[in-house]
């Protein structure tokens, strides 16, 4: 886990005034940005706090696994819990149906021992330089026990979100399957984003846009590649000048390679999910905890707004696990000790095609 250090360099914006008052679910980030949570505490930690307002997040799907839906569910549920308005577009016949699958925040009385309990620590003598990492974990753990206004909640995927969150006027759904071109979606996004203009004052409310499987084959516009690209560009510019975050998921195997690259360059934050093969003996030998993993998450790009300094992550591949089948956790990959006698070398080179069996293991 990387400890986030705020770098004060000549490239960072100096905040001379006191930080503006922020609505629920928002917090100040580095370089004058305001962050909102992705709904997955581990992902927030990896990205340095969350998604910055005004950024475009893109997630490349794997055609063989529905893990992007997990990311979307947590993102949308987090927004609803903080009463942040949401616009959801999906190629399904009935997009509203997806809202019924959103998870509910886990109540603190649920037993989930993630970090060390404070009592236990007294018995442990931790070497002094490691205490700083444990301290961070402690803060997060204590933060969970507050009321519902904490920044990021742990979501219980088995419990559906309470109805009153969804029934408010704050959720708007768009079906993109039947529209012949993207003008309807663009207009809906524009109207939605006009609710959150950016000015230098306080931010009372932030908006979230979630577009699922943007180039799904059943959409009538799915072979109009240039139109889709220009939609993404205009969405990005609209989002940049408003207080909101947009997340778009798309299956890259259905796009031509050059467009796939162009779309990836459009993203401020780029993530990808990959499926795991079941009963893969090589992977089971290579990684500990293979049985609990459901997929891999790769972080390719992290949004850096108002600064020129890039983020270099310690690790970019994480395994997606469902703890107790309820909570989505992301873990760094731990390599099992290689058995010299067995003869397998751990240089499984990852290839970049999404259909390869070994996947892209990038330590």
């Amino acid at each position: 886990m990387a400890v986030a250090k705020t770098r004060t360099s000549s490239f960072s914006r100096n905040l001379s005034t006191a930080s503006p008052s922020l609505g629920p679910g928002l917090k100040c980030g580095p370089n004058g940005t305001v962050l909102l949570s992705s709904g997955i505490p581990d992902l927030d930690k990896i990205l340095g706090g969350g998604f910055p307002l005004g950024s475009l997040v893109m997630v490349t799907e794997d055609a063989e696994a529905p893990h992007h839906m997990l990311l979307l569910r947590n993102f949308m549920a987090q927004g609803l819990v903080h009463s942040q308005p949401l616009l959801y577009a999906s190629p399904a016949r009935d997009p509203r149906g997806f809202l019924g699958t959103l998870p509910s925040p886990a109540t603190s009385k649920d037993d989930k021992s993630r970090g060390p309990e404070p009592d236990q620590e007294k018995g442990l003598r931790i070497a002094w330089q490691y205490k700083k990492y444990f301290g961070e974990n402690q803060l997060n753990f204590d933060g969970q026990r507050d009321g519902k206004h904490e920044y990021s909640s742990e979501f219980d995927l088995r419990k559906p979100l309470e109805r009153h969150f969804i029934n408010g006027q704050r959720v708007d759904c768009v079906g993109i399957q039947d529209s012949p071109d993207l003008s309807i979606l663009r207009d809906r996004c524009a109207t939605f984003l006009s609710q959150f203009p950016r000015n230098d004052g306080s931010i009372s409310c932030a908006g979230r846009i979630a577009i699922q499987s943007f180039c799904a084959p059943q959409c009538a516009y799915s072979n109009m590649e240039w139109e889709m690209l220009s939609f993404i560009r205009s969405l990005k510019s609209m989002v940049r000048s408003s207080n909101s975050v947009a997340i778009i998921t798309f299956p890259p195997s259905l796009l031509s390679p050059s467009f796939c690259k162009r779309w990836q360059h459009m993203a401020d934050t780029l993530l990808s999910v990959k499926a795991i093969q079941d009963d893969d003996k090589e992977l089971a030998q290579l990684l500990t905890g293979y049985q609990d993993m459901v997929g891999f998450l790769n972080v390719h790009k992290v949004a850096r707004i108002n600064t020129q300094v890039p983020v270099i992550l310690e690790a970019t591949t994480f395994s997606i696990k469902l703890q107790k089948r309820r909570y989505l956790v992301l873990e760094c990959l731990n390599q099992a000790p290689v058995d010299g006698l067995s003869g397998t070398s751990y240089g499984t080179s990852g290839s970049c095609s999404s259909s390869s069996k070994t996947g892209n293991l990038d330590f």
Partner: protein, 374 residues
């Protein structure tokens, strides 16, 4: 294994889930897609008849083959359609897909052949294959007519998606398939695809839309597609009777299951057998590293022949070392060069060690360079 496919199709969809969809994919190198399709169809239908499945009926959308073929097929498997006409319906997109025969009948130039009663009770002719939404409505109507409305489910078999793609765009076919999958009353669906008839994107789209992909591959790859050699004839012969059957399952928990089997085509039908492991993975005791630690025979000989460029070559000649100073006499320098040349012609190498002194300590304080005889 092929059995898991049948089980998945038979079990059908859970509440609120998309119906499991199977793509059977073949190519010219291994053209058994039709046989596999027939096999899956017969298996599914017999389990529907036996009541083992929540699905109560089967709709066959036949594009590539005549409906009577399917009736004959089921009869040959011992499944009598006459008593089960409440369980199967065939949507005939083969006989008159664009409605031309209809138009000819109207203009009086054509007399439509009359069919026997059995066929007409089971088969419905569809004449507008260019319109996917009308096809969708007809399929659903036919299904509802078969099993009734409400929550009762039925399964669908689409003869070949290639024919659909000939006449309609990829996105409309994709819309049809995804709407079928998300329909409440559909339990499972499967279709056949010939992958070499389409661009790679189309195959990718159909794989994206399905939850299981069964692909047929030849057991022996033909080299460069040459078909003239005698050697290749036997391979082709081999490939015409058997092949490899690979299945990729998308499981509910998000993992992908891959399975392989061998498939044999016989007169009586098709057989699946577990893959014979050709060339088991031989794990030697030496761990696999990226560089070669062993020497081949030739390398060993060459190593032995190398003349080491040290002062003591063991042939008694005095040596000169050119240390860069011009004061050395040229003739002596030439001499040294000649020495080296004759040495290399020797063809054998030796390392001769002159022990400098018996009681020399390895880490003595003396400067080891003192031992050089310059």
């Amino acid at each position: 294994m092929a059995k898991s496919i049948f089980i998945a199709l038979r079990e059908g969809a859970l509440e609120g889930e998309l119906a499991p969809a199977l793509t059977i994919k073949d190519s010219v190198a291994s053209p058994f897609g039709f046989q596999v399709f027939d096999h899956v169809l017969c298996q599914l239908f017999s389990s529907i008849l036996a009541g083992k499945s929540p699905s109560r009926g089967l709709i066959v959308v036949s594009f590539s083959r005549s409906p009577s073929f399917y009736l004959e097929l089921l009869k040959s498997k011992g499944i009598s359609v006459a008593s089960s006409d409440k369980r199967i319906q065939i949507l005939d997109c083969y006989n008159d897909p664009l409605g031309w025969k209809d138009q000819l009948v109207e203009s009086g130039n054509f007399r439509a052949p009359s069919h026997e009663a059995l066929i007409s009770s089971v088969v419905t002719v569809f004449r507008e294959v260019k319109h996917m939404d009308k096809l969708f409505n007809s399929i659903i109507e036919l299904g509802r007519g078969l099993v009734g409305g409400g929550k009762i489910r039925f399964s669908i078999a689409i003869d070949s998606v290639d024919e659909m793609l000939r006449r309609a765009s990829v996105s409309s076919v994709a819309r049809l398939l995804s709407n079928l999958r998300s329909h409440d009353q559909i339990s499972s669906i499967f279709w056949l695809l010939h992958s070499d008839l389409h661009k790679a994107r189309v195959t990718a789209v159909l794989e994206y839309l399905s939850s299981m992909v069964a692909s047929l591959e030849p057991s022996h790859q033909l080299a460069n597609g040459q078909r003239g050699d005698l050697e290749n004839f036997s391979l082709i012969e081999h490939n015409s009777k058997k092949g490899k059957f690979h299945v990729r399952f998308k499981k509910r928990n998000g993992r992908v299951r891959m399975m392989s089997e061998e498939v044999h085509i016989e007169q009586s039908g098709i057989n699946f057998t577990p893959l014979s492991s050709e060339g088991a993975i031989n794990q030697g005791l030496v761990p696999k590293v990226q560089f070669n630690l062993q020497l081949s025979e030739k390398e060993r000989i060459d190593k032995a022949n190398v003349v080491l460029p040290f002062e003591h070559q063991g042939n008694g000649k005095p040596l000169q070392i050119y240390d860069g100073r011009r004061s050395l006499v040229d003739s002596k320098h030439v001499d040294a060069v000649e020495n080296v040349e004759t040495n290399e012609d020797g063809g054998r190498g030796e390392i001769i060690y002159y022990r400098d002194s018996d009681d020399e300590m390895p880490d003595s304080d003396e400067d080891p360079d003192d031992d050089l005889d310059i």
